[in-house]
Amino acid sequence: MTFPTLNFPVIAPQIVLVAAALIILLADLMVANKRILGWISLIAVIGALAAVFVCRSDSAAFPLALGGPSGPGTMALADGLGLFASAAVLIAAGLAILLAIERVGDFSRFEKPGSEKKQARSGDHPIAEAPGPQVTDRAGAYYALLLLATAGMTAMATASDLMTIFIALEIFSLALYILVGFNRRDLRSGEAALKYFLLGAFASGFFLYGIALIYAATGTTSLEAILHNIQPMSISLPFRPLLPVGMGLLLVGFGFKLALVPFHMWTPDAYQGAPTPVTAFMSVATKAAAFAALIRVLAAVASYDRPWLLALAALAVLTMTLGNLAALRQTSLKRMLAYSSIAHAGYLLIGLAAGNQLGVEGALYYLLAYTFMNLGAFAVLLAVQRRDENDVTGDRILGLAGRQPLLAALMAVLMFSLAGIPPLAGFFGKLYVFSGAVEAGLAWLAIVGVLNSALGAYYYLRVTILMFMAEPAESDQEISSGKVETLQPGWAVMTTVVLAVLGTIVLGLWQWPWTQTIAQAVSTLALR
């Protein structure tokens, strides 16, 4: 009988987040001013981030083990990779909460339906509790779900057992399904949630089948034990041939969650239909968590073997190219950014396909850069988005520089970074990832990546041109005719945008501390 040993520092971020989510759910029943709940959740995220840094300051990895320290029963491992990805997830969560704090009412309030439809909601977060006579505000549920999703993502980033990876994946997926469908006044929100849910659940099936086959092949679900058992001359494994099949199915599951082509069908709809703060959060945080888990799984199960790396390279090429080509012809900016985030998943995958130190380091750096720049871009969309709408088309930012010069300038920085123009973070991310691919002998992959960056630059720069080039006379006319009202973004949204831009610039110009942290994080992994 092995007794579980709990190493609290490892799961401290999750404990903080889940406890805060529960407190918010209860507080939601008592508090009329929902903004307080937003601040509580922001404090919780900062607390979790502090917990991550406390882990970091101690150089030893804290294993959360079932039986023995860092043995085969280890469920979660707060190593450099896990802490780094957790930090990225928590930064994204903090910015997303700050982004929502003023605008959450746009999509969390709704008129109470008629008496026969009154009790529409279900799941663990039913509607109800009317502060006023008619309007219901579910802002509390929004923050609680966001925190639970964050807890799931940080858990996935630190998980070192296929079982924990799966449970963490489901925790954040279930929370995101609800968050995507949060806007009950927008038909597209519910539709997006439905599609995301059905395809996500379908993907979970593949993910799980893959895990079952890997379990069959190796007799364990612990990544460390798998790595040990599949060494030649280790123990006899009669079902060893099932291992690649399992890994393939697992890769399909990861492909769905990371929105890799050809498993990306849900992405544009889900990102477009979801409330904009949710889109901003899920487009970056999901990737950070799932990429961290994929890096671990590849190291343990596939040992970064050549065939798997080529499969990843093929996925990367498809993902980049189709993502960029589809983004070119979008009129909705939200949908364009959705396709662009597919393309960015492709760039990230190049680093993994390289499978060497430099490539994986580049992918991690890119993840952090992408967190700032993509979240910032969606934050700008929220700033120009009308309160009763859930989408932004090109004509809304037409001549934005004339109306709101600061916002336009910040958006331009984010677009330049996404396009990969030096000296911003996006450029260095691509540089590291591509040089990793070259070093691994995949020069062709780097070339495809560079060509795709040029393709991407076209539509990012088009956004910038729209903002700066449009004749202000026309938009003045439209303002006076009431067609375009000057919407002043609130201070919280502006703060988010400024923080994201700062992150993008700082990460680009002042690299040394980040690259060193990443190098340490990667050095403990079993790469090629």
């Binding site: 339906p113 439809k117 529409a120 909601r121 279900s122 799941g123 663990d124 079982m163 799966f166 449970i167 489901e170 279930l174 399904y177 609800i178 469908g181 009950r184 038909l187 597209r188 519910g190 539709e191 997006a192 949630a193 439905l194 599609k195 849910f197 059905l198 659940a201 379908f202 979970s204 099936g205 799980l208 089948y209 895990i211 079952a212 086959l213 379990y215 069959a216 007799g219 364990t220 679900t221 123990i235 009669p238 079902f239 544009p268 709809d269 477009q272 239909g273 589809a326 012809r329 979008q330 009129t331 909705s332 949908r335």
Partner: protein, 102 residues
């Protein structure tokens, strides 16, 4: 004793039926049922592998328990979403839900 292969064939068949349900059915509820079938197929696999190969640990069992609870949570969230969409659109037919294109 029943050979392991039988369980594997059963699980694979169930998984395939579930997958067919997901791909072929148009009603979202039927699609969800297909997904549940897929998850249950995996449970059969996990338990069979645990019985025949496990290295003395209860991983297969523990995992199956978690899968069951996750599937229940998934069903609850899914049905809640279906109700919400049905109230807005009067349908949960996935082919009629096409507000977004491109």
């Amino acid at each position: 004793m029943v050979p392991l292969t039988w369980y594997l064939v059963l699980a694979a068949a169930l998984f395939a039926i579930g997958m067919f349900g997901v791909l072929a059915r148009k009603n979202a509820v039927a699609v969800l049922m297909g997904v549940e079938l897929m998850l249950n197929a995996v449970n059969i696999n996990l338990l069979a592998f645990w019985r025949y190969t496990a290295l003395g640990e209860l991983v297969g069992h523990a995992f199956a328990v978690f899968v069951i609870t996750v599937a229940a949570a998934e069903a609850a969230v899914g049905v809640a979403l279906f109700i919400a969409v049905y109230r807005q659109r009067d349908t949960v037919n996935v082919e009629e839900l096409d507000a977004m294109k491109g």
